[in-house]
Symmetry: C2
Subunit: 208 residues, 2 copies
DNA sequence: GACAAACTTGCACTCACTGCAAACAATTAA
DNA sequence: TTAATTGTTTGCAGTGAGTGCAAGTTTGTC
């Protein structure tokens, strides 16, 4: 039956996957993500085009090469967080975790710019993060003991995501301010209220 | 030179556009958005495929047929809001505006479901709302007298967007609770703080 | 009616992506 | 070692999106 992880097959698959992802990222950086063809990527990784599609469903997937481990770790953290840790705090820790890893890769800013510059990459990122958000929301709702359809857990997860996106974009246009600063300010605002003067009732039925 | 808006040409263009958008929506509802081909849409609207692409850059654009008027009105409202109206309140009013219009169209839920069910539609929607958000953010920053790179205006706009998405999804899975209820709860949370117990400093440097 | 500008169309092309079946390589059992 | 099994790669054929170009056709102007 199943082997001890270390089969030749397993290793080869990982290798091929890595080769494809690397080639995809490199070429995307060189020529711009919209001017790379799958054919080039496959060629650079020395496999057929058809094989490319055995590994990645879309070109963009290969460029992003999203690490499923990140989501796994995030979910784990969400589930095992100490009871006295507030929900947004957990989200904050998760984000910082990912950030740390990306930075150690040295790929953060290059990939970040790439993403922000290409609609189709943004597409992939947002779609896959939608899915992540759903799972995180489920985990958080459970942890908070809230029913499945309640607003707060979903809102916490999705606004945290929004905050990350805002921060990425701000950092891109004004790199002098460190990402962590921006991130902390954003989360602080989320936590304490983004607009304490909010009061739609005062102008009930705003007419056209 | 330029005419009084009412030229035959103008009218015909509007007609063709509407015919394409209608056909696209109808067919997408009938057969599922991913099983409609541009060819079918063009045929139903009685134009060539090539002409379809003169009107819409993507299939999804035709199905969404986003009304640029919405953004225009939103921007207008943002710029002309009374000084004493708080930022999030303005966003709230804008959202309710759009909601009202979509509902009167009778297309809200049908289109909404369609969107949530198809990745490629979601893609288009999110991309175009990204752009909307940028413009709204700029307008809001100006109104608030904040510098271009500041966090709060961007966060207000993008979390409001996130709230709308959360609400749409919740409403889809649990339609018994009216949209406006959900929306109000979400905005209230955004306004007053989503997690007042947030305190990352207490667990500084959470190690793995 | 003649002329220019705008719009439509067909055609040829590139590229993403899929299903299928044959070739091939790794694993396991004999 | 060999033979059977299973998983992976590949070529091929095909669908469909989307683009550029060079006619044609319509509409608006003089």
């Amino acid at each position: 039956m199943k082997h001890v992880e270390g089969g030749l097959r397993e290793r080869k698959k990982l290798q091929t996957r890595a080769a494809l992802a690397d080639a995809a990222l490199r070429l995307a950086l060189e020529k711009g993500p919209d001017h790379v063809t799958v054919e080039e990527i496959a060629e650079a990784a020395d496999v057929s085009v058809r094989t490319f599609f055995n590994y990645f469903p879309h070109k963009e997937h290969a460029i992003l090469a999203r690490n499923p481990e990140h989501l796994e770790r995030a979910l784990e953290r969400m589930r095992t967080a100490p009871a006295e840790e507030s929900p947004l705090t957990t989200m904050w820790l998760i984000v910082h975790d990912v950030l740390r890893e990306l930075e150690s890769d040295g790929q953060l800013s290059r990939r970040g710019e790439l993403i922000m510059s290409s609609p189709s990459l943004l597409y992939q990122l947002m779609l896959s993060s939608l899915d992540d958000e759903r799972q995180l929301t489920a985990a958080l709702a459970e942890r908070m003991g809230e029913p499945a359809g309640s607003v707060r857990p979903a809102l916490i997860v999705s606004t945290a995501g929004a905050a990350c996106r805002v921060v990425m974009e701000l950092h891109k246009t004004a790199p002098e301010r460190p990402i962590r600063d921006l991130l902390d300010e954003a989360f602080q605002l989320l936590a304490q209220g983004i607009d304490t003067a909010f009061g739609p009732d005062h102008q009930k039925k705003g007419t056209s």
